[in-house]
Structure formats: C-alpha cells, structure tokens
C-alpha cells in the first residue's frame, strides 16, 4: 500500500453498481466476470429478476458468493472462459478488471463468444490528478481506488478512455455507448472526458455473428490447430 494517494471515488462502490444495473434489462441472463463477493449479481437477481452467474478467483470472495446463493465458477480470467458455452448470456459484466488481464483483447473476444452485450468498466489512467502525479512527482500512479505500488499492483495495464476506444476497434465487438464516470455519476457527454473521468462504463455489443469455430476456447483452438 502507498501513503501518497489521490482521492477518487471508489469505482467498485454501490454507485458504480447502480450505473451498471441501470444498463441491464430486467430478467436477462447475466455473468459477472471477476464478481468479487457477488454483491452486484445478487442485487441483479433479487431486484431485477435476472438469472445470474458469477466468476471469481479469490477463495474468500468465492465462498461469500456461495453464501449469497449465487452460482459461481472459480477460474482465472487469464485462462479464458472455456467452461462457458457459446452465446449462453445476454450480458457480461467486467468491472474494473480488464486492466488486470494479461491479454485484454483476447478476453474481450472470448466474452463476445459467450455474451451478446458487455458492460465494461475501466479505470482512466489519464485522469488529470494522475497526470499531475506522474508529471510533478515523477512517480507511477497510485490512487485511492487503485492503491498499489507499481511492484505489487494487480493492474498490469494502464489505459485511458482514448486507448480503450482504440482497442475496441480491433475486436469482434463495437462500442454502443461510452459513459465517463465523473464523481458519482455516469454522464452521457462530457467535455474533456479523458481528463476528468476517473473511469468509464462501456456498453459493448457483439459485431460479428458467432461462427461455429467460436465454440472452441482459445486453448482448444490451439490444440485443434496443433493436432
């Protein structure tokens, strides 16, 4: 942990969850990737009649999900989503996790094999406070909600809203909406969003039909190709 912090609203807060829930059609089938203790999916189930599923790696969080009666899968998102059949979900949620994934584009493509739409929340490392910290102090960014020294951080990628838009142009999906989160609100349009937003919610949609070979996970494809 680091003493030098910049105060920014917690992106895993109930506020962010409210913003996500607002974008999900009641009654949908939803998977939350990196769901933590399954608070968000339990709310989607109880208040919105959603059929939910949680994916989480951490042991303690996983058990908390079981206690909430949420169906859970323990797996590392870096190893793909082979346990999830193609087109089995209406929505996938990936909140504040993409920056921790080894190969974000592979995971996003994999997400659109299993889900029609995705709600992805990413931190914005181009926020002006972070820019100042890097420029003035010459130190790697450490913030309230990403309070890790560079050598112990689970965040392996540092991206901005501009960077994410560029990534999104390369996958089998497209950006339906970009909602910068400024303070406690997701705003439809903001001046200088890439400077002011601490994170952003992206509503993404599958752009290409799922082909039969998409039934295979990346690992299975590698195996199939090598046989």
């Amino acid at each position: 942990m680091c003493a030098k912090r910049i105060h920014l609203p917690d992106p895993r807060s109930a506020v962010t969850n409210d913003i996500i829930i607002d974008k999900i059609t009641p009654g949908s089938r939803v998977v939350d990737l990196g769901c933590g203790d399954a608070t968000l999916v339990a709310r989607l189930r109880d208040d919105h009649g959603c059929d939910v599923f949680g994916v989480e790696l951490d042991d303690d969080a996983f058990i908390k999900g079981i206690e909430k009666g949420v169906p859970m899968l323990q797996t590392d998102l870096n190893s793909g989503l082979a346990e999830l059949p193609s087109q089995s979900f209406d929505f996938a949620i990936l909140s504040q996790t993409l920056q921790q994934i080894d190969r974000p584009l592979d995971l996003l493509n994999e997400i659109f094999r299993v889900a029609k739409r995705a709600l992805v929340v990413v931190p914005n490392f181009a926020h002006w406070r972070i820019r100042l910290q890097v420029a003035l102090r010459g130190r790697a960014p450490v913030t309230d909600h990403l309070p890790y020294e560079w050598y112990e951080s689970p965040n392996v990628h540092f991206l901005s809203l501009v960077d994410f838009r560029e990534l999104a142009s390369q996958g089998n999906f497209r950006v339906l909406r970009e909602l910068p989160i400024i303070g406690d609100r997701a705003v439809k349009k903001a001046y200088f969003a890439n400077l002011r937003a601490h994170s952003a919610l992206y509503v993404l949609e599958r752009s290409a039909p799922v082909l039969p070979q998409d039934e295979l996970s990346p690992q299975e494809k590698t195996v199939a190709a090598s046989v």
Partner: protein, 394 residues
C-alpha cells in the same frame, strides 16, 4: 409398504450414542425391481444408516451415495470396540461440514454390493444359495432406483441434497436426471458424466485379475473353504494406485525400502519398497471386507454409466433437472480429472441451471475427498452451499 419414519424412529443413534445399521426389504413379490437390462430382481434387502433427526416437515434430508467399495457406515461407530469410525466421519456429524444437528443424513449400501444390501453374495430366494454369477447385470440407474425406493419406504418425499464422490457422484448425476422432482441440491465430488477409457482400462485389469484367480471358479466359490483372495487383492492394488497421485505416493513413500536401508537382491521379495508393502496391505485388507463378484458387478456398472449417451447429450439430460449443483474436482485426480467435472459444468450452464464449480488443490489425487486433512477445504464450500439451499427452500 411406506412407514411414517418420523413416528417410528427419527434417529438410528442408540441412546449410548452409537449408530446402528438398519435394513429394509423392498421390491417384495409381486412387485420386483425391473432392471435397466429388462431382468427383474426382488425382494431386495437394503442396509442403511441414519444420523440426526428428521424435521417435522421432513425437509432436512441429505442422502449420501458412497463410492465403489464403500458402505452404509458413513460416520460414527457401531460400538465401543470398533476401531475405526465410518468412512466420512470427519465430514458428517454434529457440528461438522454436514451437520447432523441440522440435517438428517441417510446413507445406504448400494445394490450389487456386499455389505448388507442385496448383491451377488446374497441368497437367491429361488435356489436358496448365493446368486453368485447369476446375479443380474445392474447399472447406476438400478442402484439409484433402489435409493429412491428406500426413501419411499422411509416416508420421505424430497431430499434437501444428494451428495456423492467418484461412483457416488455418478449416482448423484443419475438421480437428479432420473428423479428431478425429488432433489433440492446435488453435490458431485471428484466424478464425471462417464468414466474415461483409461478408467475402464484399469477396471478391466482388476476384473482380469479376479477372473484368472484359480479359486474364482467362474464365480461359484461361495461355501468353499478358501475364497478367491489373490485376484481381488490384485484388483484392489491396481485400483488403489489410481486413487493416489504421483505427488502423494512420492511424499508418503518415495523410494524408501521396507526393511533396512539396503537392497535385498531377492527376486522373491515382493515388498522390497514401502509402496509395495503398502499396496499389498491394502489388497489384503480389502479381501476381508469385499466380495469378488460384487467387484465385477459394480465396476461394470461404473463402466456403463454415460449420462450424455443415455439422454442424448449431457445438456439434454440436465434440461430436466431442477436442483442446484455444487461440482468439485481435485487438481491431482487422474481417475476423474478436472476436465470431466468441467464437462458437467458446461452442460449445466448450457442448460441454464444453477451450478457452482471449483477445482480444489490437493496432493492426494482422487482420494482427496476422503482424506481428513483435505476435509476443511471441502467443508468450507459444502457447508455454506447446504445452508443457503436449506434457507432458500424454507
């Protein structure tokens, strides 16, 4: 035939705290069990044990399905002289992962077994002699049909959960697909929708060992002075290797010698290494409690089980289930490796069913779900899963 179990006997624990083996006679004439093969069998005696107290609403029942060579004695002791308690004593009991202060646990010996339930060593009522090789071919579905008949007999409509590992897990899978209306939750441990070819191969070696025992006499050895112990012990030795992992054998035995520190340079010595001695011990102990014909019968039932084949596909099979699932595999299990559990999970997600899955890390291989040191990890998942299922059904 149904009796109101709650009124007659709500717990089998005797006043001194010991558990008693009970038995029920089912499928008496004129209504024998029609087996999957088309043959009929009856009457069938079923040995079972119960723990805890059946709730007034009869909604706290947990049915334990045992693995290949297990029995109804799942926990507790029959008397003070009994050295070892039941096979899952570390897991089932007051305050344990399956808490008998809360739940009413039932475990029965399986059809085709030899520990109190009708099997090849039981008397054939038509001849007055043991069935022997005349015992009909049975399948996992037949075994599960007997479990269900026992529930009927006990006057229990629905179970909160069925729990089983290995062959017991296969019974759980068959049960939830065959009688979906009866089961609230299914807990499948170290199991799969079918045995892979490697598993069938090991079973084949075990059966060949039994067939080639000169004392086996095509299965007609009952009443003989000496039973066919050699082949059965060998079958157990082979099977036992599949229950362990490379890591656990290495940790426990390594290349340590049994007697002294030096090689004996004696080919006749069958127990030079400690692992050899251990396997011989396991084999010898096994023949004291198990019947060769039962071993043949049950390994065949295990080989034949194929959930996807029987119902079109596994996802089709699961489209009929209503239960929620907890599926657990062990990373060092090579008899029922993790991908087999994942196949179940994929099919359940495909069928839009409630499933929770975790691969546990363990050095102990397939046997991990029975090893005391591994039970806390298992319990940390099973206990909240059962508690939540129970409260959701209130």
């Amino acid at each position: 035939m149904s009796t109101d179990f709650a009124e007659t006997d709500s717990s089998s624990s005797s006043p001194d705290g010991f558990v008693e083996r009970q038995s029920a006679t089912l499928f008496a004439p004129p209504s024998p069990l029609v087996l999957e093969s088309g043959e009929t069998l009856g009457p069938i005696t079923v040995a079972y044990q119960t723990y805890g107290t059946l709730s007034p609403r009869k909604d706290n029942v947990i049915y334990i399905c045992h693995a290949l060579t297990g029995d109804a004695h799942v926990a507790g002791r029959h008397n003070e002289k009994e050295r070892k308690p039941g096979w899952w004593n570390g897991f089932i009991g007051p305050g344990k992962a399956i808490d008998t202060n809360r739940y009413f646990v039932v475990c029965s010996n399986i059809l085709g077994g030899c520990q109190g339930t009708t099997g090849p060593s039981s008397e054939n009522p038509q001849t007055g002699k043991p069935y022997g090789p005349d015992f009909p071919f049975i399948t996992i579905r037949d075994i599960v049909n007997v479990h269900n008949a026992l529930l009927d007999h006990l006057g229990i409509e629905n179970v909160l959960a069925v729990v089983g590992g290995s062959l017991g897990g296969m019974q759980v899978l068959e049960w939830v697909v065959n009688r979906p209306e009866r089961v609230g939750a299914a807990i499948v441990l170290a199991s799969g929708p079918k045995l892979n070819a490697q598993g069938i191969a090991f079973n084949a070696v075990g059966r060949r060992a039994i067939y080639s025992d000169p004392l086996f006499q095509d299965g007609w050895y009952y009443g003989e002075e000496e039973k066919p112990h050699f082949g059965l012990a060998l079958a157990r030795m082979v099977a036992h290797i599949t229950y362990l992992s490379e890591q656990s054998i290495e940790l426990k035995f390594g290349r340590k010698l049994q007697n002294g520190d030096e090689f004996g340079f004696d080919l006749k010595s069958e127990t030079e290494f400690q692992i050899e001695s251990y396997l011989h011990y396991q084999g010898n102990r096994f023949v004291e409690r198990f019947d060769a014909n039962s071993y043949l019968t049950l390994t065949r039932a295990m080989d034949y089980f194929d959930l996807g084949e029987a119902y079109g596909s596994i996802a089709d099979a699961f489209s009929r289930v209503q239960s929620r699932f907890l599926v657990i595999s062990y990373d060092t299990d090579w008899l029922y490796p993790t991908p087999q559990s994942k196949e179940i999970v994929r099919a359940l997600v495909d069928a839009k069913r409630h499933v929770t899955f975790k691969e546990l890390k363990s050095a102990y291989g397939h046997d991990a779900f029975l090893i005391d040191q591994e039970l806390p990890k298992l319990g940390s998942l099973v206990s909240p899963f059962l508690a939540r299922t129970y409260s959701d059904r209130q």
